[in-house]
Every structure is written in structure tokens, then in C-alpha cells.
């Protein structure tokens, strides 16, 4: 049964706030804790680097003191995601998860599953499969397909969370 709330880790990357489903988080490290290698190994799992800022064309400052490395896994793929700042954990009512407006038509439909307001900020919900590089070459989900997904899963508003 679908829970009424979903948990997210909210992070900042450049001027954008983004959220990752909390169930995939395996750790949050500082640069010192992660070491200088590109890949991060923790509890026997190798997390390959994920340059979200470059993939999203976002100007991020990943040299600041608040930079964190989020170790993320969906069970198949494992990534070390560098973000400007960890903002916090949020339990979100599923009804407060909104679909990306249909005017957004291209790759971003694969990047983000939806959006929400958190502490009065717009937060974009990252699609973990895309973030972990599992969707390279996948044609963006059309608005029509997204609507069909919502119809098939009425408990999930906009397929967002």
C-alpha cells in the first residue's frame, strides 16, 4: 500500500533546490571524508562520480565548505553525487507533489519526476534512474505518457513521488 508521505533529501545545486528519494541514500560525506579519489568506496560498494551540475548545465560552486557528497543507490547503480549544500530531510504529503508543467517538453521530463514547495522554495524532484545514468539515450517521457502513468497509478499525483 502506498504511504501518504514520501521522504526526500533536499539539496542545493547552484541556484536550484532538488530532492532525492531518501530511501536510496547510503551516506552523506564531506570532501575530507570522501578523500581525493573520483570514486568513493563505502561498506564494500563503489560509488562512481555523478556530475549533476554538468549534466544539468547548472553553475554550481562545489568548492565551498558546505559541499557534500551524497552516496546514492537504487540497488542496481551506485553514484557519488556532489552538491553545493545539503538542505535537509523532508517528509512530503504525496498530494503536495506536483507534476512538471507540460510546457516543459524536452530532456527535463526525464531529469525531474515532479516538483514541490519546501520551506517556501521550489524543489525539483530528481529522477534517481536518470541521475545514476541509467537513462542515457532514453527519449524524454512525453506529456501524454506522463498523464497515462498518472491514470495507471492514481495514488501518485503526476507520478512525482
Amino acid at each position: 500500500m502506498l504511504l501518504e508521505t514520501a521522504s526526500f533529501l533536499v539539496v542545493r545545486l547552484g541556484g536550484s533546490y532538488m530532492a532525492l528519494p531518501a530511501d536510496g541514500i547510503r551516506g552523506v560525506l564531506t570532501q575530507a571524508e570522501a578523500g581525493n579519489e573520483h570514486t568513493v568506496t563505502a561498506a564494500g560498494t563503489v560509488y562512481r562520480p555523478v556530475d549533476l551540475a554538468q549534466r544539468l548545465s547548472v553553475a554550481a560552486d562545489l568548492s565551498g565548505l558546505e559541499m557534500r557528497i551524497v552516496l546514492y543507490s537504487n540497488g542496481r547503480s551506485h553514484g557519488a553525487i556532489r552538491v553545493d549544500q545539503m538542505v535537509g530531510l523532508a517528509d512530503v504529503d504525496r498530494k503536495d507533489c506536483l507534476p512538471l508543467p507540460p510546457q516543459f517538453q524536452r530532456d527535463e521530463r526525464n531529469w525531474f519526476g515532479g516538483m514541490m514547495l519546501y520551506q517556501d522554495q521550489l524543489v525539483l524532484m530528481l529522477n534517481p534512474s536518470w541521475a545514476l545514468g541509467e537513462m542515457d539515450g532514453v527519449v524524454p517521457v512525453s506529456v501524454g505518457q506522463a498523464e497515462q502513468m498518472v491514470a495507471a497509478n492514481p495514488g501518485v499525483v503526476g507520478g512525482s513521488c
Binding site: 536550484s16 510546457q103 516543459f104 524536452r106 525539483l124
Partner: protein, 155 residues
């Protein structure tokens, strides 16, 4: 002989004219049908959204409502003028969409439908153009703004 009752005459007169909102973007006068405009309010800072959709790369939060921003000024290669800038809400077929326009307060005009000419400009979706004052003004098709651009991008 058929005679027109006063009510019908009025209805025909209404059909023969369009009510439009005249606004400007970077000094360029544009118009939109009043029914395609959801409102005009002061512009507030938009929130960037990583996006590959041309001219749709931000959201605007008004009260607790979020709507996408269409960068009409960028599409027309214009620089917005005046301060404070204004937000025109377009009643787009896909949902409300915010457009930043020049600071000058828009005006309402009634134009004769027969005076609306086909518009050959390919840089923006229009319903035609009309002469208002001494200006040739394009009537922007706010409902489908960006759609032909999307189609062109896709094909």
C-alpha cells in the same frame, strides 16, 4: 426581407470586434486577446529550472501557485524596458504561463475583426496583426505560444 432584432445586431457587432490587451516587450508593441490573458501584476523574481525547452527555463511563484515562465523577450531578441517590470499571465492551452513584459501598463483596445491582417512573421505564433495608433501590432496567440517552436524543434 429578414430583419435583425436589436440583440442579434449587438451580438454580430461583438463578433466583428476583438477586445485586445496591448503591451510591450523590449519596446515592441504586441497585443493579445483579452480572453487569453489571465491578469497583469508586478513581476517577481523567477526561479531557474534546468531545462532544454527553448524559452521555458524558469518558474514563477505567485502566492502558493507555481507556473512556468515563457521568456518572450529572449525569443524576440529584445531587452525588457522600465522598472518595475510586469507579469502577464497567459492562458495557455497547457496551463497558465507567466511572461515578463515592459513596465508600461498595458491598455485595452477594441479592434475591428475585419482590420486584422494575416501575419507573415515566422518568429512568433500570432493570430494576425492590426494597426493600433500608428503601430503595426501583432496579436500574439498566447494559447499556443511556443508550440510551433516545439514542433519545429522536434521535427
Amino acid at each position: 426581407m429578414l430583419r435583425t432584432v436589436p440583440g442579434q445586431q449587438h451580438a454580430q457587432a461583438v463578433k466583428r470586434s476583438w477586445n485586445v490587451v496591448v503591451f510591450s516587450v523590449g519596446g515592441m508593441k504586441l497585443a493579445a486577446r483579452t480572453e487569453d490573458v489571465g491578469g497583469v501584476s508586478p513581476w517577481t523574481e523567477s526561479i531557474p529550472v534546468p531545462s532544454r525547452t527553448p524559452f521555458v527555463q524558469a518558474m514563477l511563484k505567485q502566492d502558493n501557485h507555481l507556473m512556468p515562465v515563457y521568456d518572450l523577450a529572449a525569443r524576440l531578441s529584445r531587452t525588457l524596458q522600465g522598472d518595475p517590470l510586469l507579469c502577464l499571465v497567459a492562458r495557455h492551452l497547457d496551463g497558465p504561463m507567466a511572461i515578463c513584459i515592459d513596465a508600461g501598463m498595458p491598455s485595452l483596445e477594441t479592434v475591428d475583426a475585419t482590420a486584422i491582417r494575416p501575419n507573415g512573421r515566422g518568429d512568433i505564433e500570432t493570430l494576425g496583426s492590426v494597426t493600433i495608433g500608428e503601430n503595426d501590432v501583432a496579436i500574439v496567440a498566447l494559447q499556443r505560444l511556443g508550440r510551433s517552436r516545439q514542433d519545429a524543434v522536434r521535427s
